[in-house]
């Protein structure tokens, strides 16, 4: 009923009173602080989208939609078509996931199916080690060690070997004459692959670990070999989740800047020949920002930043959608 507090004569003075509220100010303040911190994420994301789009409007207005995605990138003459960079980003990232996929799935299967518990820990440490190498170090090693080695010892042989084979020639053959470059689409894709392997491996491992043990035991109980068990019990359950992990890897590869900038060759061309220099969105932003102090040039680079932002968000959302759908299916099936 009501809140009146009657002092009961039998009770010691003061013990019945004091049920009145004293919602301390500190409690309220703390809750508001926590809420504000949580909201920060929303605020930052919105600000990124809004402010960066604002800064890049002059790019849109001067080029128009067709201009933005044209092949004509010539800042000296006021031409800012970004197609070459979009192309490069896509191609290098695809190379990265094609190369990283078998390695990460293989290692994930190794950890879950092959290696006994005790030995799994050291292998996980190695993967963590790989993950913690900063991208600029990959870039440094890439440009000073990998690129010269590929250029002298590997690529020329590959190029001449496949030059006359139909598709391979177009992919791995030289572009003009005998020219192949260590700094190229493929090298960037290779370095990207190494960088995204850790995250793809740990995600794939999580996915594969959710396969119910009963399914695996069922396969073994039917006399299956390990490989047959993996094909029959593990893979059907986890293929969708592994696809999700791959998409996340794709997102990472698309956004990676420094290592790519150092080994891509910095040439805004669209070509199928992967052993020739190329370019990518984050790379051009990093490499040319110094010269783009004002005007449409800077707007173009920031605009590409916005494109990159949207692109990676879309890829990440798709990855999460795929993984969510799979998880829901698994929960229903379990």
């Amino acid at each position: 009923m009501s809140a009146t507090v009657q002092a009961d004569p039998a009770t010691p003075a003061g013990s019945a009173s004091g049920l009145m509220p004293r919602r301390p100010l500190g409690d309220r303040v703390f809750q508001l602080l926590a809420l504000a911190s949580g909201l920060l994420v929303l605020v930052i994301l919105v600000l990124i989208a809004v402010t960066m789009s604002q800064q890049s409007t002059s790019w849109f207005t001067s080029e128009g939609w067709s201009g933005i995605f044209s092949l004509d990138w010539d800042p000296a003459h006021g031409k800012f078509g970004a197609l070459a960079f979009v192309y490069g980003t896509v191609v290098m990232s695809l190379i990265a996931i094609i190369l990283a996929f078998p390695v990460s799935v293989g290692v994930a299967l190794l950890l879950t199916e092959v290696v006994p518990r005790r030995w799994a820990q050291p292998i996980v440490y190695v993967i963590d080690l790989l993950a913690v190498v900063p991208s600029v170090v990959w870039g440094l090693w890439g440009i000073l060690v990998l690129v010269p080695w590929l250029q002298t010892a590997i690529y020329p042989h590959v190029a001449s070997a496949v030059n006359d084979i139909w598709i391979l020639g177009n992919l791995f053959g030289p572009l003009n004459g005998n020219y192949v470059s260590g700094a190229s689409f493929f090298t960037a894709g290779l370095v990207l692959a190494v960088m995204i392997i850790p995250i793809m491996t740990s995600l794939s491992r999580e996915v594969i670990a959710t396969v119910p043990a009963s399914d695996k035991e069922g396969a073994y109980a039917l006399g299956a070999t390990r490989w047959e068990m993996i094909r029959g019990a593990v893979w059907p359950h986890s293929q969708v989740g592994v696809m999700g992990a791959t998409l996340l890897g794709l997102g990472r590869a698309m956004g990676e800047t420094i290592a790519v900038a150092l080994v891509c060759g910095a040439s805004a061309t669209v070509t199928s020949h992967l052993l020739t220099p190329g370019y990518a969105m984050p790379a051009v932003i990093a490499l040319q920002f110094g010269e783009a102090t004002v005007g449409v040039f800077r707007a173009a680079l920031i605009g590409m930043g916005v494109l990159l932002f949207l692109l990676t968000i879309i890829v990440n959302l798709s990855a999460r959608a795929v993984v969510e759908r799979n998880a829901r299916r698994m929960r229903g099936a379990a």
Binding site: M1, S2, A3, V5, D8, A16
Partner: protein, 292 residues
Amino acid sequence: MEQPEPDVVEQTVSTNLPRLETRVQSPATMPGTTIFDVRNVSIWYGSFKAVTDVSLPIYENEVTAFIGSSGSGKSTVLRALNRMNDLVPGARVDGEMTYRGADLYGKGVSATAVRRRIGMVFQKPNPFPKSIYDNVAYGPRINGERNKARLDEIVERSLRGAALWDEVKNRLKQSGLALSGGQAQRLCIARTIAVEPDVVLMDEPASALDPIATLAIEDLIRELKQNYTIVIVTHNMQQATRVSDRTAFFSVLTDSKSDTRTGILVEHGPTQQIFEDPRDNRTQAYVTGRIG
């Protein structure tokens, strides 16, 4: 009113267990102050009615036991007494529940202040991952006590009151998680009485413990009632007869038409009366072991 002769029945159990005294508590002479007055209380969790129309008094310096089968709402009513149900989204209390005359659920009443007067010990011991000392000092500290000497004194008094002091006095800095089940539960009791509450609620405090630890807790309860009012939920009828002065028997009411179950209070009274001469058939059936 005529005082019935107290019945004392002693049995010696010839095992390694300490002598077990099974003694039905003599009924309280005149019930003292009414601490809680529960009137027509129904408690809802969202659209589920957990208990219906419960009315009973709780008296000062007595041990009141809630017994009954599972799902009969004993814990729900217990948790309503210190507003722990507030933590469950969608919980609602209808009816009147007063503590020393004040409406527990009145407008403007602070649940935090309620809980500082009405403490709770849980079924599974839940010591904080802090030292034994810090576990007991936690309550006084959040109430503002900073003086080290006073805290030391409070910690020792509480641990003595929980019959744990001798066992831990030399290792107060050790983690509370390192204690055995029975010790951990006594630590939780020490922690609860460190804030000098008025009432201690206990939700099946010994059900997770081994028999020897259980007896230690029961001894403790009998001692504690001198200074506190105790309400204990237990599914162990022998325990109820051993420790409580008053007993309330809950049961489940099934509505066959709508296939809903809700908890109800069947009867309450002095423990001896409930167990030896219950008024209701259902009580009779439960305490003689035919159901529940």
